[in-house]
């Protein structure tokens, strides 16, 4: 990556280190993500991939290194953290929808309270987003009345309602029944093609092959290898990557 293009970098991680007690969970993780890039992070469980993307919006605190998101440097200042969180949407493995609110209230909550938009405006936008993820008719239901796939699509709409510049996906399809994975992946593919910057922890290799610009392989808290899907799938440089891919493909 040449220097003159570094201004395009929307996420910059430099030598990020994190420990859980004595356990060294992230070791010198460095990654630059350009605006509009779709990155798939994969690796065995316990490799630190979830921890890594959770440091980007400070759901996990790192102890060493720098993280700069959309020009804002992560520090202990809560205002910086809140500013970064407003720019990044996150989708979780367990959906984490708010069960006491209807689908539409889940989506409008943050725009109303954080972005200070009117209810009317937020609801109109929420309905657009629900249409985009294909479940507009479920707007007045509660999350518990929806299937897993529908809940995850609501979660994506909820994150998009804040108009984030970056979307983080933490194993979004791992908790889904097999027949529901496709509907979520379709939404994610559409999002990727629309130019959203995306950082996805996932084992959906079909998805990676189709839309990822780059793939990052992590193991034991380190980035072992990164490259285009083409290169990773056909010609991985590292033995560990080769071994892991042979096990999951």
């Amino acid at each position: 990556m040449s220097d003159h293009r570094s201004s395009d970098d929307i996420i910059i991680c430099e030598a990020v280190n994190k420990w859980y007690g004595e356990y060294h969970a992230l070791r010198d993780v460095s990654l630059r993500v350009k605006k509009g890039e779709v990155i798939v992070v994969f690796g065995p469980s316990g490799s630190g991939k979830s921890t890594f993307i959770r440091t980007i919006n400070r759901l996990e605190e790192h102890q060493e290194g720098r993280i700069i998101v959309d020009g804002i440097e992560m520090s202990n200042d809560i205002r910086n953290i809140d500013a970064i969180r407003r720019e990044t949407g996150m989708v979780f493995q367990q959906f984490n929808l708010f069960p006491h609110l209807t689908v539409i209230d889940n989506i409008t909550l943050a725009p109303i309270w954080v972005r200070k938009k009117t209810r009317k405006e937020s609801e109109a936008r929420a309905l657009e987003l629900l249409e985009r993820v294909g479940i507009k008719e479920q707007a007045r239901k509660f999350p518990g009345q929806l299937s897993g796939g529908q809940q995850q699509r609501v979660a994506i709409a909820r994150a998009l309602a804040m108009e984030p510049r970056i979307m983080l996906f933490d194993e979004p399809t791992s908790a889904l029944d097999p027949e529901m994975i496709k509907e979520v992946l379709d939404v994610m593919k559409e999002l990727a093609r629309s130019g959203m910057t995306m950082l996805c922890v996932t084992h959906e290799m079909g998805f990676a092959r189709e839309v990822a610009d780059r793939m990052v392989f992590m193991d034991r808290g380190q980035i072992v290898e990164e490259g285009t899907p083409e290169q990773i799938f056909t010609n991985p440089r590292q033995e560990r990557t080769k071994l892991f891919l042979s096990q999951i493909l």
Binding site: D82, R85, R86, N96, F98, F142, P143
Partner: protein
Amino acid sequence: MATTDVSQPRARPVRQSLDVLGWLRENLFNSWYNVVITVALLILIYQVVSGLAGWLFTAQGWPAVVANLKVLLAWTYPADQLWRPQLALGVVTLLLGLSAGVWRGIVLALAVGFGVVCLLLALPTFLLAPVPAQVALPAWQMFLAAAALVAVGAFVGNAGGQRLRWPLVIAWVLLYPVVILIIRGFGGPLPIVDTNLWGGLMLTLLLSVSGIVLSFPLGILLALGRRSDLPVIKWFCIAYIELIRGVPLVTVLFMGSLMLPLFLPGGESIDQLVRATVAVTLFSAAYLAENVRGGLQAIPKGQTEAARALGLNVVQTTLLITLPQALRAVIPVLVGQFISLFKDTSLVVIVGLADLLGAAQGVVGQPEWLGTPGGVWRETFLFIAVIYWFFSFTMSRTSRRIEQQLNVGKH
């Protein structure tokens, strides 16, 4: 292939239904020892029921209860001022009706239940002996008026719709001080009625409603404080909760009424009723805090993470995400606690207040019933037990209703 088509749904097998005799034979008389048990229990039940019914209709203490209805309901509150508690009740009733019309749902169910109970109570009280003339509204008229107020309120609220929402919220917030003001008075048209004249059911209701209303926010703050990251707040809340939970309510009441004046600068005397209310509130808040904390702990970590990831700050996350879920998870426990608070208020008898129980003791001690064979205490205490039961049962039914309403959309 000759196999059955498994894709075809089949009718559910019919269950053999039994007639009454068949059911009896199957369940109560199916072996010699069950026959013995059934017969023995039937004899026992007959003995208890016939004894109780016989006593109910032959007891000679009922005139004491009827003659002292005013004492049991309002103790020594001046009879010519009794319209004030009735007015307060009317205000509450009207608000309930209006809210039912605006919000419908649970509130409407509550209001309908309240109206029906009032109508039911109007009937027996109509048959009672006429009350002294200076009382504003006799009981049966009061109950009919209450039912009418609920109905009118609901109608107006329904017509007014969402425009009445905020005025009503404000009215509910102001209700508590207004009711106290009406009952206590401020001179002029409403001469001050000193709190040592208050008593009976009115006092029980005031004490427990005050306890519930005031301990609720305090308990929530304590629960949040106990989970705080700030050590000073956290340790203060833990110390407070554990201290209060470690002593009986009687102790707290004694502290409030006997020891507190010793600590205060001389000449300052705080109203006995205020002291009792504060004691009940402080006591209840500690238990409430622990219940709410239980609810807060049951909320998955993902909920806060999702809220924080959306950019909500700590206060917003607590008020919009964790607290509503925690409170709804502990509704049954909270109502249980409020029911026991309602009954625990009878302990204020110890510090010299005449609540419902105190009033009953007063009635039993009246000299004019000394000649009644067996005394009048059975009838009087049975009567107040029924009142306690009625309110507790209503609360528990209401909580069931609220739970059902809130469970919409949950698995």
